[in-house]
Subunit: 149 residues, 2 copies
């Protein structure tokens, strides 16, 4: 077996290369880290999300959520409040500024992603989508033993 043909290796290399293309857009151009981008991404649609839901809807643990949110709040892109019904939690919202930034960035990120995906045939894109969805389920199945903190 060749390393280059070893499936997990190919997957990791392609995913990392793809990721870099996008980080270059929202990171180099707008100074956002990957975790911050993910939070903004979720908040831009939902408007308000509590801390538990944020953890569930990303692969971020509570430490990462806490830190990314702190940075975003500092930048004035999101708001953070403590709900009265359970004061251990936090409820995050997006500011007008945050929403505006997201509206500006998203098309650029999508454009960069499209640039790559469009250079594939429609058939290959469909295959990738189908395969990836199946892989997601397969990996999730194998993951049940581990916790996430």
């Amino acid at each position: 077996m060749q390393l280059e043909s070893f499936f997990p290796y190919r997957l990791a290399v392609a995913a990392e290369a793809f990721s870099r293309q996008l980080i270059e857009v929202y990171g180099r151009t707008y100074g956002l880290k990957r975790e911050e981008w993910r939070l903004i991404f979720l908040l831009a649609r939902a408007q308000r999300i509590d801390s538990l839901e944020l953890g569930r809807r990303t692969t971020l643990d509570k430490v990462q959520v806490s830190r990314a949110a702190a940075r975003l709040e500092e930048k004035g892109l999101i708001t953070k409040t403590t709900p009265d019904n359970d004061r251990r939690l936090r409820v995050y919202g997006i500011t007008a500024e945050g929403q505006a930034l997201f509206n500006e960035i998203l098309p650029q990120v999508e454009a960069r992603a499209s640039e790559i995906l469009k250079s594939m045939s429609a058939e290959d894109r469909a295959a990738l989508d189908q395969g990836l969805e199946a892989l997601k389920r397969a990996v999730e199945g194998r993951r049940r033993s581990r916790g996430k903190g």
Copy 2:
């Protein structure tokens, strides 16, 4: 658009989760880092590879190759010599110990990978393979502007 349905996000999450499964095998059990594993993987087949070829056949830059090789040599898993025809280069070889370790690890890594892939239908696996190959070409195409050091 939902973050969870955003293709690059799904790709990154699945690839990372898959990677972790394998690192757990060669890392937690045998104390190898990802770069070390890649070098061993290549050397186990080729027996001898020079430093330039190692860089070309992985995504590792010269710093990563140099450090991973230094650690592997320290562990007695590979050898390092300086060829007389160009003394700027290095030629790496694998020791009997390194080969034995690889022979022991590879089936376990493959087993773990299979465990995940086998839980997918043959059709989904084929789709994933096809899609990933196409994505690799697409990402490589977009990458020509950047250098790798």
